[in-house]
């Protein structure tokens, strides 16, 4: 089946088995390995991409379903070597450790902050609840996202104790 998609801002025609998982098409066919497989059942969120602006687990999406859609992966968040505000904040405020969950978090948070630019730290915890991280305990991730949302206010989204 030939799919017409807009991927990270570029129009593409893809000849793929419609039953294949979007994650496999991205990783194996297109060599976009930033999206990771942590569980293969939509629990960990490491494979999160934006499908028409909505965060989805690409391990749960059959390729045939994305025909005519716009897809954004972690590779499309920045501009070449330049990092997006969310990515930059995750690095600067310690929001990435082993990094395997980070692409999914960066993608999901980008959508979350686009939709709710004023999201509180508590709200961000809810919006990111589909992205498991085993390293950070989440505090520095949330701090980083608060900083990305409100650059002037600094990282103390939840206030100092």
């Amino acid at each position: 089946m030939t799919l017409r998609v807009r991927l990270n801002g570029r129009d593409l025609l893809l000849d793929v088995d419609p039953q294949r998982r979007l994650l496999d098409v991205l990783r194996d066919e297109l060599r976009l390995t930033g999206s990771k497989e942590g569980c293969g059942e939509g629990e960990c969120g490491a494979c999160t991409v934006l499908l028409d602006g909505e965060p989805v687990c690409s391990c749960l999406v059959p390729a045939g379903q994305v025909d005519g859609s716009e897809i954004m992966t972690v590779e499309g968040l920045g501009d070449g070597e330049l990092l997006s505000a969310v990515q930059d904040a995750l690095v600067r405020f310690g929001g990435t450790q082993c990094g395997i969950c980070t692409p999914g978090i960066a993608v999901c948070a980008t959508a979350a902050l686009r939709r709710e630019p004023d999201a509180s730290a508590e709200r961000l915890r809810e919006l990111l609840a589909g992205n498991l991280c085993r390293c950070t305990g989440y505090q520095l991730v949330i701090d980083a996202l608060c900083a990305a949302a409100r650059p002037a206010a600094g990282p103390s989204g939840e206030g100092a104790p």
Binding site: G78, G99, Q139, E158
Partner: protein, 766 residues
């Protein structure tokens, strides 16, 4: 949009520069093993046992399956020594026909094919013929010897500590003896990147394996033993690794052997990447434990004696269990002055997949029991649990249970006091009162939270954690690291310590830059590859920054001295160190300095009597947890979590904070959520759907307090921090539940149904 930039001052030790691998990780450019381009690699899959104990009679290939494009490997294809070499050589890489299967996930055969799907189909078409044997599936069955899994009594290892008088006599002289039995369950590391390994053999007969791992030289050594290779023909490289927490300490050796066996048979590269279910079902977890603890004290609160009987479930093979047992035993007396101590620890073998390393390494199990006991003692005496801990806390000059005199870097009172400063009240709902009273008044009626009735409570825990290898371990390891010049005038750190997320590469760059006196941006850290980095010892035991970081500092200092001397002799006096380095490489080649770790003076340990300096130094921590328990559903919400940790000195404060908070949440998950369920020796919930870990919505806001009691023999005073945050929070959560509900939690995890049962039992008893 911006590129992370920094000025030299921001990179110095004590500052928090962006981590060196940060940009690659957030942009998706970092290559983990499953991301490595290798077009001609086949995919491997593992055929595992389906019974927990049995005799393997045969391995049969289904005739209906087309095997023409599949490579199959069994134990018969192993020409060398069929063993995953570690402490004891008891675990085979593949069970041979005629051999014994000891757990349900035991590897028996391997297959490889051009696609993953084809490999899995082939694995499903391999039939095992097995005579099933009776199995010992838990501690009680192992003690009864329902089946013999190890030796003639299933006891893998026994360790004893004895201090002071005979403990029964000491307890008989106490005003009060608190007695309890505590059990903790297995815990899955649940790193988000499953285990994976890529192997190929080159035309010179060398095997190259690249993968997700903590300890390249463990893999190296296992490869040498099974394939009979010399150092140069086993080349092991760490790929970017998506978390380890102990789970990638020794199991990667198994994967490397399997991938290498398949690659040799297939004559091409082979990659094995587990899916989540296989990873949870087959790889090691935290040891389940049972601890019987008696604490004897006087009416004024003075601790007198502790008697601890501790049992760990080691699973089917020895793996790292004796060392885990050692750490459990050495932490069983807690951070307290105790004149009389008896600890007996035993590790038992069962027909379950082996248990192994997980952050804390036996200490969290022992500390859960100790800190529950201390809390019960405080309630029995009617004193503030914080006061009781502070009264009995070890101080500089005091002696531990192994007779070690604590000489330096003793942050025990500092962490307790730091905790009290930010949370002065013994109860969350009395916070703010200027003079906290004890005992605090208890409300008979529940509060209301989000429309539901809740009962609130506060608990604390206090612990010490030995940093680095136990006893004379560091001396034996003699870890080495090098710092060398680069042709461009920069410098390179060479060590086998891996960055598994904790930030080792960034801290090494900071430490080396500081010692060299150059900008941190000019120091790089070489990816650990056994043919290019010396053996720095494994990346475990909270030792990387403290031990290997010190070696990196010394190597950098030596290199700087050498370059300055060489520069003076060659007309470069006063030149920039990078300029001298460039000239050195150009004129006489690379300059490299390698240093071997020298333990601090006065470290003496006797393995026979279990006395002496168990660890070169200890970290100290005090943790506070406030809970709100739904009065009807028993759902637990953590409303506050404060952790004060003495880290010696924070080389990179943000990464230290990240270590503490990540460890704290793993501990809270172990305490309240994470249950690995077994049935017939098999993990019944091997998926993230039902073997759950905390999400961002479950996690509390973390309040982390860094306390710094510098360690004179660590780099800039730093000491281990990786494991200690795992030790206390489970007991703090249990103590908070005790405070909220009047129950005495005795097991981990404390699920709503466990809490409900404890409340029902208490109400039935009154």
């Amino acid at each position: 949009m911006s590129v992370p930039t920094h000025s030299p001052a921001d990179v110095a030790v004590g500052r928090s520069p962006p981590r060196v691998d940060g940009a690659a990780k957030v942009s998706g450019r970092a290559l983990y093993v499953d991301d490595l381009p290798c077009e001609d690699a086949w995919h491997g899959a593992t055929v595992r046992s389906s019974v927990p104990h049995g005799r393997l009679r045969g391995v049969h290939l289904d005739r209906a399956f087309d095997w023409s494009d599949v490579t199959v490997v069994t134990a018969a294809d192993i020409r060398g020594c069929n063993v995953v070499s570690l402490i004891e050589g008891d675990q085979p890489a593949l069970v041979p026909v005629g051999g014994t299967i000891r757990h349900v996930a035991e590897p028996v055969a391997l297959v490889a094919a051009s696609t993953r799907a084809r490999a899995f189909a082939a694995a499903a078409a391999v039939r095992l013929e097995v005579d099933e044997l009776p199995a010992a599936l838990d501690l009680d069955a192992a003690l009864r010897a329902d089946a013999l899994v190890h030796g003639d009594d299933n006891v893998m290892k026994t360790l004893r500590i004895a201090k002071g008088d005979e403990v029964e006599r000491a307890l008989a002289g106490c005003d009060l003896v608190i007695e309890g039995v505590y059990e903790t369950g297995a815990q899955e590391q649940m790193y988000i990147e499953p285990q994976g390994m890529l192997a190929h053999w080159d035309e010179h007969g060398a095997c190259h394996v690249t993968g997700s791992m903590q300890c390249p030289y463990y893999v190296h050594s296992a490869m040498k033993v099974l394939f009979g290779l010399d150092d140069a023909h086993a080349i092991v490289t760490q790929a970017v690794t998506g978390g380890g927490f102990g789970g990638k300490e020794e199991y990667p050796s198994m994967l490397a052997l399997h991938a290498a066996l398949l690659a040799r048979a297939a004559g091409r590269p082979v990659k094995i990447v587990y899916d989540r279910e296989e990873d949870v079902a087959a790889t090691t977890k935290r040891h389940p434990s049972r601890v019987r603890h008696r604490l004897g004290l006087m009416r004024d609160g003075t601790f007198v004696a502790a008697d601890v009987d501790l049992v760990l479930d080691g699973g089917a093979y020895v793996t790292l269990t004796p060392v885990v047992l050692s750490r459990a035993v050495l932490h069983a007396a807690g951070p307290y002055r105790l004149p009389h101590v008896r600890v007996v620890g035993r590790a038992l073998a069962t027909n379950t997949p082996p248990h192994g390393a997980f952050r804390g390494f036996g200490a969290p199990q022992a500390i859960f029991a100790t800190e529950r006991q201390v809390d019960r003692a405080a309630r029995a005496l009617g004193v503030d649990p914080w006061e009781l801990r502070r009264k009995n806390a070890l101080r500089a000059g005091d002696t531990t249970s192994t007779g070690q005199v604590l000489e330096h870097s003793v942050g025990s009172l500092a962490v307790l006091d730091a905790l009290r400063r930010v949370a002065p009240s013994p109860r969350p709902d009395h916070e703010g009162s200027s003079s906290p009273a004890w005992p605090p008044p208890r409300d008979e009626l529940p509060d209301v939270r989000l429309g539901s009735p809740v009962r609130r409570g506060r608990g604390i825990a206090f612990c010490m954690h030995g940093a680095g290898f136990t006893g004379s371990g560091e001396q034996r390891l003699a870890g080495r690291a090098s710092v060398a010049t680069r042709p461009d005038g920069g410098f390179e750190v060479r060590s086998s310590s891996t960055d598994i997320g904790q930030g080792a590469f960034t801290t090494f760059a900071q430490i080396a830059a500081d010692a060299l006196g150059v900008d941190g941006a000019r120091v790089s850290v070489l990816e650990p590859t056994t043919d290019r980095v010396p053996d720095s010892g494994p990346t475990v035991a909270s030792r990387t920054c403290m031990v290997v970081g010190k070696v990196v500092e010394d190597a950098a200092t030596a290199l700087r001295a050498h370059l300055l001397a060489w520069g003076r002799a060659h007309g470069l006096s006063g030149a920039d160190l990078g300029e001298i380095a460039r000239a050195h490489v150009r004129d006489v080649g690379e300059a490299e300095r390698t240093v071997t770790y020298a333990p601090p003076p006065g470290i003496a340990w006797d393995d026979e009597s279990y006395t002496g300096s168990a660890y070169p130094v200890y970290g100290w921590a005090a943790c506070l947890v406030d809970v709100a328990v739904d009065d009807d559903t028993h759902e637990v919400t953590i409303e506050r979590c404060v952790h004060a940790v003495d880290v010696g000195h924070a080389i990179h404060p943000v990464m230290v904070q990240g270590q503490i908070e990540g460890g704290t949440l793993q501990a809270l998950g172990w305490a309240l959520l994470e249950a690995v369920k077994y049935g017939g020796g098999r993990v019944l919930n091997p998926r993230m759907t039902d073997c759950i870990i905390p999400t961002s919505a479950d996690a509390p806001k973390m309040e982390t307090l860094l306390v710094e009691s510098p360690y004179p023999f660590g780099p800039h005073g730093a000491k281990g921090v990786g494991e200690i945050p795992m030790d206390g929070p489970a007991a703090a959560a249990a103590n908070a539940l005790a405070d909220a509900l009047g129950i005495e939690p005795a097991c981990v995890p404390m699920l709503p149904e466990t809490i409900a049962a404890a409340r029902a039992a208490r109400e039935g008893a009154t």
